[in-house]
């Protein structure tokens, strides 16, 4: 919403504040000012001058020398190239040292304007400049009386020597407000003016609306029927005859210009003026084109086509409200009129419409027919039906005042359910309790009165006018009090009451450990989108029956690339790694903590399961076992102290078939790791080995513990035995370790792989594996015999697996 300050001052005549004060105070009372423009910020020292004498320039065909009366004893000599001026013309003159906003070509305006200095033009002194409307920072669009090209010429009655900027109405400032959706009333100059008056404690003087009507009866001219009253709460119609189309007066043109609206003619300008002033869109039909002299408001027919007055054909359906005459639609309600009833210069009798349509329906219809207009934007917010009558009367008042036509007596008003103002009991104690203030009731009532909320002392009720639909609770009244008391003046305190413990949830603590471990190992945190393309399934070579293909789909995605909720975190990680690889970043390690979304059924009827995944990915330095080290370190830090089992048998399509494993903790699958399948890396354009680990965090959170028990530092010496074995290649060292753990007995302390070898001296298909096994007792120095018993058990079991000691 924008308003010119001069227009506001019409309704708040006592307003006398600086622009800065205005902006600050309005923002603090709830009408946030987003910006403003001083129309005359670069206009300086510009007066109305009258050309007294014109001579040809002796040395230049295209230049003339003008002697200009600027209201001082001495005339000013100005040389100009403009050809549209003649002796006697009154023109804007910028004097030596003054400033104009732009060049005569009307291009973009320089930030601080253009300084005008006296000088010589082809040898002849020129002591100022006559201005075009473009040089004054505006255009012919807003000043239609300005010539196509050349100097702006004033009307004859303008006083020579007066301030030209003032005469042109450019001594104004235009403010832009951010109006919140609850304050529909503030999408109008009057609404803002009411707030201004209340904010500065000045008198609010809205226009006094009276219509001079003729003695005829409007009902003899037109009949209105509203069939769908759910979508049209009120329809007001008036008739104006003997229309004389012509330009509107300058004051109206200037006001519209300041609001960025082009003056067109008196009729259009009046409807635009009302739209600004009251926030009420109006429409005018040529009554002679309305068949049956009848207006019917009803839903359209699906399949119908309708040509709006911009000449475009629109597809209509039965949810779109139409304005029809006896035989055909003549307008899309609240959006745009039809070409078939359009006002032309030859109009003699018109039908004025000011209605109130359902905001939601207008919003949806506007989307449906693909047309968003100034009118629909206003209606969408949900207007007050009581404004319709005021607006149409005001329009007819202007019709008469501006001599546009003759208003037929009476108004057709279809208004079935009248919207009444509400009443809210004033509970000043509660308001003070909400705000933490101590404001007396009289002060509160004073604030209310300033915004036309009356108070009934008998019933202790605040009477809410119908344009303030947003007020219905004590809390709403508290906000009104707070706005005018000043948010700044409300004290600042801290909550008292029962103490609470500040903490992270256990889940978040586990995630914090994950971040710390990952970062310690050089992994940086990535964040990727939760939605992705279904093409990801192919990129990851997922089999057709993969569970991961069952994804939650978005009904209205931003495009296929963002159309399903991810079921795996791999694509995000691989995309991030790919970005880095292709930007030539070396040895990149990333991790992410983010959800996957697993539907409980397709189509989705319950909220899907959201499982947070700890995903690690890297290329460059490091291998499978570096990754394995990171995840094991993490498991240990969150108290998963038992051995993780690595199972390479369940092959995942996107991983290297020989370099992948699922991770189990106490029989629970908790994640997997591996090298990315070269075909997949290729798809992501990474020409290096990529390693991934994905840990399903909800399980970790379940299993994790931060409890630790001190076990004491060993007092007795350890005994270490080394064994070197020969076994079939297929046997995993994990199997050997399982045997050592199972058969080592209570005195087994630790074991360590120290050699693994294939090749010369080892027969084909076999490998040599060597372990160092350490035993220790808590209560004594171990005897050889103790260790021997354990070792024999281990060796026997290894023998059962076909593993032999190396000779």
């Amino acid at each position: 919403m924008i308003t010119a300050l001069s227009w506001i001052k019409e309704y708040v005549p006592d307003l006398d504040v600086s622009l800065q004060e205005y902006m600050d105070a309005m923002t603090l009372s709830g009408s946030k000012i987003e910006g403003y423009e001083k129309l005359d910020k670069n206009l300086e020292n510009i007066v109305v001058g009258q050309i007294k004498k014109i001579e040809r320039h002796p040395d230049a065909d295209k230049l003339i020398i003008c002697q200009v009366d600027v209201g001082k004893t001495e005339r000013v000599q100005i040389v100009t190239g403009a050809s549209n001026v003649k002796e006697g013309d009154k023109v804007p003159v910028v004097l030596d040292g003054g400033r104009v906003a732009g060049g005569h070509d009307g291009g973009s305006l320089p930030e601080s304007g253009i300084k005008i200095k006296k000088g010589k033009l082809r040898g002849i002194e020129s002591n100022g400049m006559m201005c075009s409307i473009e040089e004054l920072g505006s255009s012919k669009d807003y000043y239609p009386e300005a010539p196509e090209e050349g100097i702006y010429i004033f009307e004859d009655d303008v006083e020579v020597g007066s301030d030209a900027v003032e005469v042109l109405g450019l001594n104004d400032a235009v403010f832009e407000y951010e109006i919140t959706s609850n304050r529909v009333d503030c999408f109008s100059v009057l609404g803002i003016a009411r707030e201004v008056a209340a904010t500065f404690g000045k008198k609010f003087v809205p226009p006094v609306v009276t219509v001079k009507e003729n003695t005829e009866d409007v009902n003899d001219y037109v009949k209105v029927t509203v069939k769908d009253t759910d979508l049209c709460t009120r329809y007001c119609a008036r008739v104006v005859k003997n229309i004389k189309i012509g330009p509107s007066p300058k004051w109206m043109q200037r006001r519209l210009a300041a609001h960025g609206i082009r003056p067109i003619n008196n009729l259009v300008d009046i409807t635009n003026y009302i739209m600004e002033e009251f926030g009420q869109p109006m429409h005018a039909y040529d009554l002679d084109l309305i068949e049956g002299k009848e207006i019917i408001v009803k839903r359209g027919n699906t399949g119908d086509k309708f040509v709006t007055l911009d000449g475009q054909e629109r597809a209509i359906d039965d949810s779109v409200l139409m304005i029809c005459d006896a035989n055909k639609p003549v307008g899309i309600a609240g959006i745009m009129g039809g070409e078939n009833s359009m006002i032309t210069d030859s109009v003699s009798t018109l039908l004025f419409e000011a209605a109130c349509f359902d905001g939601t329906n207008i919003r949806r219809s506007s989307k449906k027919v693909g047309l968003r207009t100034d009118a629909s934007t206003k209606f969408e917010k949900g207007l007050d039906p009581n404004t319709a009558q005021l607006a149409i009367d005001r329009a007819c008042q202007l019709i008469v005042e501006l001599g546009v036509g003759e208003v037929v007596g009476g108004m057709v008003d279809v208004y079935e359910t009248k919207r009444e103002g509400k009443k809210v009991v004033l509970d000043s104690a509660r308001i003070n309790q909400i705000l933490g203030t101590n404001i007396d009731e009289a002060t509160m009532i004073g604030y209310f009165k300033n915004i036309e909320l009356d108070y009934n002392a008998e019933t202790k009720e605040v009477i809410i006018p119908s344009w303030r639909q947003d007020i219905s609770h004590t809390a709403d009244l508290a906000e009104e009090v707070a706005r005018f008391y000043g948010y700044d003046n409300i004290p600042t305190t801290l909550p008292t009451g029962e103490a609470t413990t500040g903490k992270l949830s256990f889940k978040l603590r586990v995630e914090e450990v994950a971040r710390n471990v990952a970062e310690f190992y050089g992994f940086s945190q990535a964040m990727t989108y939760a939605f992705e393309s279904p093409k990801v399934f192919e990129k990851l070579l997922l089999p057709k029956d993969s569970k991961l293909r069952e994804a939650v789909a978005i009904m209205n995605p931003l495009g296929e690339d963002f159309s399903i909720m991810r079921t795996s975190s791999l694509n995000g990680m691989l995309t991030a790694l790919s970005t880095n690889y292709n930007r030539r970043n070396k040895d990149v390690r990333l991790y992410e903590l983010g959800n996957v979304y697993l539907p409980k059924q397709i189509p989705v009827t319950e909220l899907p399961e959201e499982r947070i995944q700890f995903t690690l990915g890297m290329y460059g330095e490091g291998d499978f076992f570096s990754m394995k080290g990171v995840v094991e370190e993490f498991f240990q830090k969150v108290g998963l102290n038992k051995k993780i089992k690595y199972d390479p048998t369940n092959k995942k399509s996107y991983l290297h078939p020989g370099r992948q494993a699922e991770m189990y903790y106490e029989e629970q699958l908790i994640g997997y790791l591996g090298e990315v399948h070269p075909e997949v890396s290729e798809t992501y354009n990474i020409k290096d080995r990529v390693y991934l680990a994905v840990i399903d965090m909800p399980y970790i959170v379940e299993l994790a513990t931060f409890d630790r028990k001190y076990e004491g530092i060993a007092k007795y010496p350890a005994v270490t035995r080394d064994i070197s074995m020969v076994m079939k290649k297929e046997i995993l060292v994990g199997q050997v370790e399982e045997v050592i753990e199972k058969k080592g007995g209570a005195i087994l302390e630790s074991y360590q792989l120290f050699d693994i070898y294939e090749g010369a001296q080892i027969k084909e298909g076999y490998k040599s594996v060597a372990y160092s096994i350490t035993f220790r007792a808590k209560d004594k120095t171990l005897e050889d015999s103790d260790v021997n018993t354990s070792m024999e058990r281990i060796l026997k079991e290894l023998g059962n697996l076909g593993i032999e000691l190396r000779q």
């Binding site: 709830g30 946030k32 919140t180 609850n182 939601t360 969408e380 917010k381 309790q433 909400i434 705000l435 933490g436 203030t437 609770h473 004590t474 809390a475 508290a478 906000e479 707070a482 706005r483 948010y487 700044d488 409300i490 004290p491 600042t492 305190t493 909550p495 009451g497 029962e498 103490a499 609470t500 500040g502 992270l504 949830s505 971040r515 310690f520 050089g522 940086s524 945190q525 990535a526 964040m527 990727t528 989108y529 939760a530 939605f531 939650v552 789909a553 978005i554 009904m555 209205n556 931003l558 963002f562 909720m565 970005t579 880095n580 970043n585 990333l590 991790y591 983010g594 189509p603 909220l607």
Partner: protein, 339 residues
Amino acid sequence: MKDKLQRIKEEAFKQIQDSDALEKLNEVRVAFLGKKGELTAVLKSMKDVAPEDKPMVGQLVNDTRQAIEALLEETKSKLEKAALQLKLQNEGIDVTLPAKKEQLGHRHPNTIALEEVERIFIGMGYEVVEGPEIENNYYNFDALNIPDNHPAKDEQDTFYINSDMVLRTATSPVQVREMEKGKLPIRMIAPGRVFRSDEVDATHSPSFHQVEGLVIDKNITFADLKGTLAEFAKELFGPDTKVKFRPHYFPFTEPSAELDVSCYKCGGKGCRFCKGEGWIEILGCGMVHPNVLRMSGIDPDEYSGFAFGMGLERIALLKYEIDDMRLLYENDYRFLKQF
């Protein structure tokens, strides 16, 4: 005898003084005091000395020995010092050579900003909780006093899963879920991912993060809201930060406000960073709407509360002066390693 000792002593002294290395000094020691040394030889020849002269000669021999030993010791210490000096001199390094570092990873700026926010509120007794990212309409809209035809629903161009399920448009639904648990008082913050149907550009992303805050207790006032958030702003942006509460509108709070902080680049004078305004908007807040309390099973006559919500990316962009939101989701290591 006396002369002989004198001569030995002089000779020893000379040789000790001539020694320029520890090994040589040791040779001198062996030569004079060793088993076959000169002085040892004199001592051995004591048996030939007349008994009445023995004490005198013994004394002399001892004196000589002590004198030599003392000088040996002194010289040894000097030589050792010199040797250490030399060793240290040779061990000098170029301290400007590059450091040996472990390549640590870097935390995402969003997380760093979040941890700052969490630290401040945990310190004030708030619990950090979470809620689902895919939400029922009820929690995302209805329970927050946003009815079906409300314009706010339109403003927040929402991603729908079906007619009853959306990608949450704010972290506010967590408020409702927390209130429904019925455990009072509540002091919580809820960080998390939210979604809006915005195309990706320098200032928009269809997916971003918010932090929601909620306090419910008896006698919570707007003044408490102001005090709490002013404290938060000062902690986050520095003790000289000024705050400004402006009236605003949210369907789920009344009265509502937006909080501006003085621009920490220019201190409020107005600069390019704050677009000349001197103030930067950081969050929305307000007193929880009585309808919201009632719908979540809390009696608004007994309890009141305040809520607030802020965009995490916005905080991160402001704090770290990042000029393009897209950088946060590209995961380029050259970007990440700066945090």
